[in-house]
């Protein structure tokens, strides 16, 4: 028993897709696309769009968990412009971001470059640097509270070896925010290092070898080959760092509660305080809207810097 395959006649004209066929195909593709997107869209609508719209609406009310509420227009925003605690919180958050982001990115990159070499104990160092990232912030904050303890803390104990007087790290208005920044920088290193490490391993070996053949020094190789290759990753790390630092809360909540006075009060803590301690949900919503705008502005500036860097 045999099967004979009929050979198609060579002179049979191939059917040229008509505009109608193309349209049907495109429609089918679109439908499939929407079907695949639907779960994500539904998720975004429920967990992002509705809350964002709700926050926008609530920010125009004086809702405070009571039976009655009323529209106040932009009254909350006007009050915020005069609220010294809010302005202090905004300033502390911006300052925190401005200090923590570049320093942590620079340290993370330097460490990642180091971990990208063939050195002994590489696995140990990679694990050690990543541990803070997977550790609960409350646990980290508790450990740092002990480190900063003025009486029996490690920080003062270490500095006393060099003859320095004990410092009241978190209780002194001059050192409280910088002390938190140190913890923030340390805590955020792990994630950044892992991302940089992955990016460094993706830098073209051909380009690096070419640079070697051209007699480039290590520094020249880094500046002219490695650094430009890291552009997209730098942007990603920058964006996630901006969002992360603007949302700093648990660290401050556990370590200082915004004190002394309001010297370490940050935006999310202020929002939390207004919403869940002072029960001013409308006011806190207005703060949230402003925080979203500030984060968007920072990301916009980051994009501009990225473009300028790429064009260079």
């Amino acid at each position: 028993m045999s099967t004979t395959l009929e050979r198609p006649a060579l002179d049979t004209p191939r059917k040229v897709p008509t505009a109608k066929d193309t349209g049907t195909l495109l429609k089918g593709q679109k439908r499939t696309g929407w079907a695949l997107l639907a779960p994500a869209l539904l998720h975004s609508a429920i967990f992002i769009v509705i809350p964002v719209v709700a926050v926008l609406v609530l920010s125009l009310t004086d809702y405070s968990f009571g039976d009655t509420w009323s529209w106040v227009g932009f009254g909350n925003y006007a009050d915020l412009a005069r609220d010294v605690d809010f302005l202090a919180s905004l300033w502390h958050t911006v300052l925190y971001a401005i200090v923590v982001i570049p320093i942590s990115m620079a340290i993370a990159l330097a460490v990642a470059v180091g971990l990208n070499q063939k050195i002994r104990g590489l696995g140990f160092f990679r694990t050690a640097f990543y541990i803070p990232t997977v550790t609960a912030t409350v646990a980290i904050a508790t450990i740092w509270l002990w480190i900063y303890n003025p009486g029996s803390g490690l920080a003062n104990g270490f500095l006393s070896l060099f003859g320095f007087a004990p410092n009241r790290w978190l209780a002194d208005p001059a050192t409280a925010l910088p002390s938190l920044m140190v913890v923030g920088i340390w805590q955020g290193l792990g994630t950044k290092i892992i991302i940089y490490l992955a990016a460094l391993q993706g830098v073209s070996r051909d380009l690096l070898e070419s640079a070697d053949l051209d007699g480039a020094s290590r520094w020249q190789r880094f500046v002219n080959v490695t650094w430009p290759s890291l552009g997209p990753v730098q942007f990603f790390v920058l964006i996630t760092s901006i969002v992360g630092t603007f949302q700093v809360f648990d660290l401050v909540y556990v370590m200082t509660r915004g004190g002394p006075g309001s010297d370490t009060r940050v935006l999310v803590l202020d929002i939390y305080q207004n919403a869940f301690q002072d029960l001013k949900l409308g006011y806190a919503s207005a703060e949230t809207v402003i925080m979203m705008i500030v984060i968007a502005a920072f990301i916009g500036v980051g994009r501009l810097l990225q473009r300028a860097d790429t064009n260079d």
Binding site: I50, A54, V57, D67, A171, F276, Q277, D278, L279, K280
Partner: protein
């Protein structure tokens, strides 16, 4: 058209979100239903029982007693702390499942009553005379809003002052004549403060118990001058007495006590010997598990008196949620909690004084000298008094702004003026 529908859906969803904040239904109302037939879940928000084994056992005893009247009602406790009480309340209201019984503290009742979150207890016969007869009269202002009573006192959280006799004798002071006025305390505290060769304070002369904020200590010191913080919801501190008190605190911090001083156990520093004199809570454990008899014998207790003898008295105050569907059951539950054995048990768990009339004879007051002293001094009670309806907001404002004044970041007079302006 489609866009219009989409927007309508979004608006509807949003209105659900917003209206969800207003009301919610869990159970059918049991009010008016015979207790033996009432079914549902009674949600109880209570910081008075620590979530330890002992605390849960004590709470279960209350539940067992309550079930004798309401056998079919389920009781769902939420063992909150005073730190997270507001967020628990806020999220329960926002989620549309408010608590039926809510235990809060001094300063909570007026704001929540003004938002119609607490039920007027007048309909259950709770009047000032009723509290005078059965409970702690000193807490009447704390449970009153707009001449109505919205809470029933469970515990009194009294504070006194303690001194170390040995430290006094060492400094050439007479421990039998404790300094009671602010001026006297400052003079004594400066003599009692010990420093190392670099000038760092190694033993505080006076513990203001203000590691995280000066609100309560300011209230206490001010009240000892005969000036309550608020009168009828109006600020009473933007005056000479207020300014003198704040300047006094400023002159004490980093002079007789470092700012922010606290210990890991959160114990009053005079009990641990880290301060020679200072504010203490309402109980001390003189057993070997606590500070020991020797330490206890070294303590002498007294009250502030800069013209008026006072002791700061907070409290645990039980209210009924105005949106509760089990108001009768909630009142029955409160009544179960306020029987003497239960209050004695809660008082012991919290190192506070049971808020019944003869608290001086309570087992808690008889168990240690500090509780005995504070329980017998409840007639000297002082606290924030008749706070304004935005007190929850003012609590934080006081803590922040007084600290800024004490640390020299802001002008004390302007701070008081500002706080007075923010009170409404």
């Amino acid at each position: 058209m489609r866009r219009g529908v989409g927007l309508t859906v979004l608006a509807a969803a949003l209105s659900v979100v917003v209206s969800g904040c207003g009301s919610g239904v869990i159970d059918k109302s049991t009010d008016g239903v015979p207790p033996a037939e009432a079914t549902g879940t009674l949600r109880v928000l209570i910081p008075s029982f620590p979530p330890s084994t002992k605390g849960r056992e004590a709470f279960q005893n209350v539940v067992d007693e309550f079930h004798k009247t309401y056998p079919k009602m389920k009781v769902e406790p939420d063992f909150a702390t005073y730190n997270n009480l507001n967020e628990k309340l806020a999220t329960s209201i926002a989620a549309g499942i408010p608590y039926d019984v809510m235990v809060t503290g001094v300063g909570w009742v007026q704001p929540f009553a003004s938002k119609n979150i607490f039920e007027d207890l007048g309909k259950y016969g709770v009047t000032p005379d009723f509290i005078k007869e059965k409970s702690t009269p000193a807490l009447i202002p704390a449970v009153t809003y707009d001449k109505k009573l919205y809470a029933y006192p469970l515990l009194a959280d009294a504070r006194a002052v303690a001194l170390r006799k040995s430290a006094f004798i060492e400094a050439g002071l007479d421990p039998n004549k404790p300094p009671t006025s602010l001026a006297e305390i400052k003079v004594a505290a400066e003599k009692l403060t010990k420093r190392d060769k670099n000038g760092n304070i190694t033993r505080s002369g006076f513990d203001l118990a203000s590691a995280t904020g000066f609100r309560q200590s300011f209230t206490t010191f001010l009240a000892s001058t005969g000036t309550p913080l608020y009168v009828g919801g109006e600020p009473n501190f933007d005056n000479k007495a207020g300014l003198d008190t704040l300047l006094w605190i400023k002159s004490m911090i980093n002079n007789v006590q470092p700012y922010g001083q606290t210990n890991a156990a959160q114990q009053p520093l005079v009990l641990t010997g880290e301060a020679a004199m200072g504010i203490v809570n309402g109980a001390v454990d003189c057993s070997d598990k606590g500070i020991g008899k020797k330490n206890c014998d070294d303590l002498k207790f007294f009250r502030f008196d800069s013209g008026k003898e006072i002791e700061y008295v907070g409290g645990d105050l039980a209210s009924i949620g105005s949106r509760s569907h089990h108001k009768d059951a909630a009142w029955a539950f409160i009544q179960t909690m306020v029987n003497k054995p239960t209050l004695d048990a809660i008082a012991k768990l919290n190192k506070k004084i049971p808020a019944y009339k003869d608290a001086g004879n309570s087992p808690q007051a008889q168990s240690n000298p500090l509780s005995n002293f504070t329980a017998n001094g409840l007639q000297y009670a002082a606290n924030e008094n008749e706070v304004p309806s935005n007190w929850l907001e003012m609590r934080g404002n006081f803590d922040i702004q007084l600290t800024q004044a004490v640390l020299g970041q802001k002008d004390p007079a302007k701070v008081l003026h500002n706080l007075a302006g923010q009170s409404r």
